[in-house]
Amino acid sequence: MTKKFDDIVQAGRVHRTVYTDEDIFSREQQTVFSETWVYLAHASEIPEPNSYVARKMGLRSVIVTRDKTREVHVLLNRCTHRGATVCREKKGDKTPFFTCPYHGWTFRNTGECAAVPHEDAYGDGFNKQSFNLKKVPYVAEYRGFIFATLNADKGKKGIKHHLKSAAERIDEWIEHNGGDHKAIRISGAQQYSVHANWKCLYDNAGDGYHPEFSHQSLLQMTQQRYGAGMDLDYFSGGIDATPMYSQDLGNGHTFLDQRPCMYEASAFDRQRPQPGREAIVEQLSQEVGEQQAKEYFEMSTGAGMNLNIFPNLLFIGNQLQVITPLAVGLSDMTWYSTTIDNVPATVNTLRMRTQEDFTAFGEPDDTANFEACFKGMQEREIDWIDISRHLHTQVDRTDENGIVTSVISSDIHMRAYYAEWKKLMESSDESTLG
């Protein structure tokens, strides 16, 4: 059943029910979190054959496994017998089989039903294969980032086709982090629940308008304690005159580039001092020489790229933020941090202390604002959420590849992802796990 969404997604505004309506949320599970590529895990989280992580693809509980031939599978974590959760741990290794705790049905990490205890009682016509764990049919990896979709057309065209020029931006992010994607490792996560619709979080992903206001505590504290010219202070004042920009990359992906300001000179020098900074600077400079150490310091500083892969993967600094809807008004916001293999250990120590900064000093204020927005969206008196900034100012430029570039404070990121959201919501594609 498809319907048109023109009445609730319009040129410069979306209706509040897009965020608050249970039926819309339910349809998003069928469309946005099924019919397009959804990010699930990083290859470094399942490094060995027979390792796995438990994840969510929208509301679905899935197990992302690597089989003995290293192929990755996305299995529905729901026993085909009576429904029990098959795998109850969050991650593991040396696990070629999953045995359901209830009646002992056993499945290979490829999903295949391997054993049903006392099988003869099901009679001669019993076919174990019809009880394989359900699988998300299309799984693909782009340079370590594992995505899945139910949609045959998108699945066959592949992840690179879907990422479009966002793939090149991912390459740039990898380049910032040493250039070897196989050396990038997820090194723990900071997980938060946010009492807001998942799109309240995604709205912020490319929002260059808010830092001067929402992040005032960070800006004022930094100014007081460390003086001017530090982290994010280029967001104060006439930001649209800066060389920073915001882009619509197509398919709902967007990009906000802070590098022209952040990396104008040393970005490391702009950072609020990380715990142990002086000790690390001293040790690393001695170990590898000052020039090489300087390169490591810059690579330990955030990439300055806010790259948003619709619907749920955000590159922020050197971290990945993954957004998962839990209910219409509840979302999982998980920040995965990254270390690099084959660099001196102190580089990774510095990366860890740097990546703890924004989640303690910046994100909590944004989160409070997401929750406040969602609260306001319950009010029946005002219908509309405004996304019209720079819609009428003719600042957008489209290049020969169809990439639209706007100024940094533009709402282009919201208009871009809502165009994709609407397309998915109106589509008649309703794939099922066959």
């Binding site: 723990g188 504290m221 304690r225 003086g227 715990p275 860890m352 303690a360 204020d365 409070a368």
Partner: protein, 197 residues
């Protein structure tokens, strides 16, 4: 503009300090089942008891400058993101601050525009089952179970877990050198924890 008060540099948080943290993690586990029955000087023990209670009370009362004074100049405040805690050199934590960044945290709240604390989060810590034992020279170690009730936007929330402490005598005062906050749900979804745990 730069605040020249103490702890404006962080040379002390070097590999040796991290190694010491990992030895503390082992020690706080109390693998032998009971805290080592080493005699601690009664006056020192009393001072340490007062210190950890005062630290919790000052956080709850938002007397944050006095709260900071409970920490030694070369201290660490640490909330691991996993349970049990991993090596913070290799894994992200929920929070890991030296004294300087702890001062940043206080200064952030003091701006009055830290919206995660508007309205202010009220907390009440309850510490229990506190065990003390002798650490290195001039060091007493402790661990305690805790419950924190946090009130934000008219909603109560309960956090719980256990604290590990390394307390050191600096000049004539006992101070916190390391406080590790082990949330039982460290690896689960957290909410607004921008107060001090």
């Amino acid at each position: 503009m730069t605040d020249k008060s103490n702890s404006q540099t962080s040379y002390y948080l070097n590999d040796a300090f991290y190694d010491r943290l990992m030895r503390l993690v082992d020690d706080w586990r109390l693998d032998d089942g009971v805290s080592p029955a080493l005699s601690i000087d009664g006056t020192d023990k009393q001072a340490c008891e007062s210190l950890i209670v005062a630290e919790a009370r000052l956080a709850d009362d938002l007397r944050l400058e006095a709260w900071l004074d409970c920490y030694s100049d070369e201290s660490v405040y640490w909330i691991p993101s996993s349970y049990p805690a991993a090596d913070p050199r290799q894994e992200i934590t929920l929070e890991f601050h030296d004294k300087r960044r702890l001062q940043d945290r206080v200064a952030r709240i003091r701006t009055g525009v830290a919206y995660s604390m508007v309205p202010v989060i009220r907390t009440r810590h309850i510490l229990g089952h506190v065990e003390y034992w002798q650490g290195d020279t001039n060091e007493i170690r402790a661990r305690a179970s805790f419950i924190i009730d946090a009130l934000f936007n008219d909603k109560h929330r309960i956090l719980s877990g256990w604290m590990g402490y390394s307390l050191v005598k600096e000049k004539n005062d006992w101070k916190i050198a390391v406080k590790q906050i082990n949330l039982i749900d460290a690896d689960c979804l957290q909410e607004n924890n921008t107060f001090f745990l």
